[in-house]
Symmetry: C2
Subunit: 192 residues, 2 copies
């Protein structure tokens, strides 16, 4: 998606060999116009698919999950919660997810009642690197007896294995921008 | 706001004396149509005010912060991060916030560069109980030399002191629904 790529080119910062800092528009300060357009781009990419709900994980996936849900005519968004949430209760699906950013293992939880069996689920997240978060959400979709329509991510790190692994396993993964490398602080995008 | 009140009446659950469970439409599964309309209601309530950005805190404030930002013509949303985030860096404003739900103290952080001095900031959050989260965000707004236009919250617990305290201190607080009590599992709304 050209507008996201342009934002990454002009406002993204590469750090070291593998960090893509996009917190000026994606995951700390949110460019709401861009977020709305990314939702429409996911709608276009999954056109013709019936979607019953969108599944993401707190926190930085929520914004684009909402705008994608709006583009799909206001389907509900369910966001998986991290940690031991009092509010979630015990009747939950869980998955263990390793966080690349924080170097920690998190358990993510979704109340069973919000994923009725048979639902057609679209996973949305801001980043895809090693694929741990999306694999965790995918496991929850399977535990619930739902159908995974696909996964839409804003930024895929093409030099980490998550995207390739998911596609090999038959998941339709749509990335709005793919980063191929970080070189001297510059973010090198695929197709640039 | 009548639609939110109706959602609380029909889908909200009161637990014990003080817990209002609205995770079927507000803070785990999100009713995106309602969220969009709540954003418009905040726009209406703060009509005539110049707003440069919206400030919230992860995670469950993000959805309605985004829809409010859309209603204000796509102003940026900044969400304060909890915990020690690698991604945020050290050049941050911080505030300590006690979580009513989890019984823990969290430090929330906002990168200094996303709150330029003089900005007019609207705080948005899903809940207002003891007011700790909003007081924390307010402290960050002050540290940044910004102007607090007001605070919009979806659900205020009128039987806890946060709303009254903030209003006494001169903050314009707009709550779309105020819960006055929990009685036998029922949520008693003000003006009902």
């Amino acid at each position: 998606m050209e507008e996201l790529k342009e934002a990454i080119r002009t406002r993204g910062i590469g750090i070291g060999m593998d960090v893509v800092k996009v917190d000026s528009f994606l995951n700390h300060r949110i460019d709401v116009d861009l977020s709305t357009k990314m939702g429409q781009a996911f709608r276009e990419a999954f056109k013709g698919e019936d979607i019953d709900c969108i599944l993401t994980v707190e926190a930085s996936g929520i914004a684009v999950a909402i705008t994608t849900a709006q583009a799909f005519g206001n389907v509900p968004v369910i966001f998986a919660k991290k940690g031991d949430h009092k509010n979630v209760g015990s009747d939950v699906y869980t998955a263990d997810v390793f966080s690349f950013t924080h170097g920690t293992m998190n358990t993510v939880r979704v109340s069973r009642k919000y994923l009725p069996a048979g639902s057609r689920v679209l996973i949305i997240d801001d980043f895809l690197a090693n694929g741990e978060a999306i694999e965790g959400l995918r496991s929850i979709v399977e535990q619930a007896g739902c159908t995974l329509v696909g996964a839409g991510v804003c930024v895929e790190k093409g030099f980490q294995p998550g995207g390739e692994k998911l596609r090999k396993e038959g998941v339709k993964v749509v990335s709005l921008a793919i980063v191929d490398a970080i070189e001297d602080g510059h973010v090198i995008l695929r197709d640039d």
